[in-house]
């Protein structure tokens, strides 16, 4: 493995559980990756159980929450994802596995596919073409913008602010159309291959119009006390094991884009967005400013991505090996650890950001009240699709 090494015990930042192993920022260990122990369901006088989900209008996906409450406060909570999909990739060629990997979670499909391909390339010792690396960054940043817009739209919807909600939905649709125009598919399905990205980035600069419009809505939201009051002091989480926007909202400078040299983010340069509040408002701020920061990366890429560059067909040095790669998905670290033999996947392990974020959410939600629940939940940007996956 080019970017990681095996270690007896963890060193550096802990990312989370990946299959039977534990992933840190530069090493992978065989030690048990300790789960966060949620406190046991204590008995409270007058408390009763309230069930939210698994299928309800406020929830976008199927998950059930068992909430212990004494009226309004959330005293204890358990979550049970309701859609568990068994996805078999072992025994498949990387191309066949790709069809399944890109359907693990469509809103984060670029992150999943790119992390998986980087792991395969690592295992096969394939040197990536520089233009392919730049194009991959473009996909990841477009995905980040779309996702952050969606999270903010869900937050404004929870606050019943209809005008910004529909304005944000308009911008999400415009972003989807731009992605569709560049890559032929609104969720990047069927565009990524080993050492190849099948998109035409000529119109990439159009993202600037979308982000310009977003800025005005964002500034308006920052002045809206009705909105801000629902987010501030809601779901406070200061946890060194958190990832992505949840960690950056607590002032932790965690970002896979700058921690690893897998993709040339350092050459392009960008600023890590941080906040100090560690609450839903901090997570909202981080996402808002990241949209602006990602648009700067994309504008820089418009000058250096050359679509006419003939990407060379890949030349694999190994047809057997192990590879590990991590990317910064819109909600934090996403990693794949794969083993291949004779060009076929013999084992694949996934570390999904939503899995880590669900644990973070569960920690932050205790002691909050029902009316705050939706804001806190949406601020983590969790997708049950990728939590409920058993990769076989």
């Amino acid at each position: 493995m080019k970017h990681y090494k095996w270690s007896d015990k963890g060193e550096g930042r802990k990312i989370g559980k990946i299959g039977n192993y534990c992933l840190y920022d530069k090493v992978i260990t065989e030690e048990s990756c300790e789960e966060t122990n949620l406190s046991p369901d204590a008995k409270y006088y007058g408390a009763f159980k309230f069930v939210y989900g698994p299928s309800a209008g406020g929830l976008l996906e199927s998950i059930k929450f068992d909430i212990t409450t004494d009226g309004e406060r959330i005293l204890n909570i358990n979550s049970i994802p309701y859609k568990i999909r068994k996805i078999k990739v072992t025994g498949l060629s990387w191309e066949d596995a790709l069809l399944k990997i890109e359907r693990i979670n469509a809103p984060f499909s670029a992150s999943h596919i790119i992390a998986f391909l980087l792991a395969i390339e690592d295992a096969m010792n394939i040197e990536q073409d520089y233009q392919t690396q730049l194009k991959r960054i473009a996909l990841l940043e477009l995905e980040r913008i779309r996702n952050h817009l969606f999270v903010i739209a869900r937050l404004t919807e929870a606050a019943s602010l209809s005008v910004p909600t529909f304005h944000l939905l308009y911008l999400i649709e415009e972003t989807n159309r731009l992605i569709g125009k560049l890559c032929g598919h609104r969720y990047f399905f069927g565009v990524n291959y080993i050492n190849k990205v099948n998109c035409n980035f000529e119109k990439l600069f159009k993202i600037l119009d979308i982000v310009k419009e977003f800025r005005l809505i964002f500034e308006g939201l920052l002045e809206s006390r009705i909105f801000i009051d629902r987010l501030q002091q809601n779901g406070i989480l200061r946890d060194r094991d958190s990832i992505g926007p949840a960690a950056r909202a607590a002032g932790l400078e965690y970002d896979a884009r700058l921690e690893l040299n897998i993709l040339p983010y350092k050459e392009i340069g960008f600023k890590i967005v941080k906040a100090e509040d560690a609450d839903a408002f901090g997570r909202f701020l981080v996402r808002g400013y990241e949209i602006i920061e990602s648009s700067k990366i994309l504008i820089e890429l418009t000058d250096i991505i050359k679509d006419n560059t003939n990407t060379e067909e890949y030349k694999a040095i190994n047809d057997e090996g192990e590879g590990l790669a991590r990317v910064e998905s819109p909600s934090g670290d996403l990693a794949y650890y794969v083993k291949i033999k004779e060009g076929r996947v013999t084992s694949a392990q996934l570390l999904s950001p939503s899995y880590v974020n669900l644990k973070s959410f569960m920690k932050s939600v205790k002691g909050t009240i029902f009316t705050d629940f939706q804001f806190n939940w949406e601020s983590f940007g969790i997708w049950i699709s990728e939590i409920g996956v058993n990769l076989e």
């Binding site: 698994p54 299928s55 125009k181």
Partner: protein, 203 residues
């Protein structure tokens, strides 16, 4: 005042589209000739079967999308819902793509409410249940309960290839549907077109 949302909304004007714009190629009708190695057998004897297609491009360039988004299969309409049609989306085991696209038909570009289509938060108020994703074990009972909770007359809409045929990832939804909306995920225009048709309305 930046947060005078009403004024901001008025200033933005009307964004709703009368005619379809900027449709992404993949998830529209596929046309072509020849034998191809299709992973879901969506092309058999040169015939394209929309219900099975995951739009993976394995058939390209022999087969190409032609931008026709009206690919839904209507098996029956219910004119009682012509004026107002309340839909309840339920996720059996999707990748999140169908969830996003069904949400986006409420965006200003599509504005589903102008056709009398609304989301409801409970199956008790629903005229149609929209099921997306492959059938997962735990959701079997939930779907059954939601379906039984709906008042008569009721419709079933299967959204996306996973729900219709299982696609590449699993099992289809075993409910008799009034409309099948193919796509991986389906285009919002396809979804809107299908919902208008099944409620017996006009575009």
């Amino acid at each position: 005042m930046k947060n005078w949302w009403f004024l901001r909304g008025v200033r933005k004007g009307i964004l709703t589209e009368k005619t379809p714009k900027d449709i992404a190629e993949w998830s529209t009708e596929i046309e072509g000739k020849g034998v191809v190695n299709c992973p879901t057998k969506a092309i058999e004897n040169g015939k394209w079967i929309a219900e099975r297609c995951i739009f993976c491009r394995r058939c390209y360039p022999n087969y190409k999308p032609n931008l026709n988004y009206e690919i839904s299969i209507i098996k029956g309409t219910q004119k009682l819902f012509k004026k107002s049609f309340f839909i309840y989306p339920i996720d059996a085991g999707s990748c999140g793509g169908c969830n996003m696209e069904i949400k986006l038909i409420s965006s200003p570009q599509y504005d589903m409410t102008r056709f009398g289509i609304f989301f409801t938060n409970t199956p008790r108020h629903a005229d149609a249940i929209i099921v997306m994703g492959t059938l997962t074990e735990k959701m079997k009972e939930v779907i059954k309960e939601a379906y039984n909770a709906m008042p008569e007359p009721k419709l079933v809409v299967l959204l996306g290839t996973c729900a219709i045929s299982g696609g590449i990832l699993g099992e289809a939804i075993p409910l008799e549907a009034s409309v099948l909306i193919p796509g991986c995920p389906p285009n919002p225009y396809t979804i809107l077109d299908a919902l208008i048709k099944v409620k017996g309305g006009k575009k």
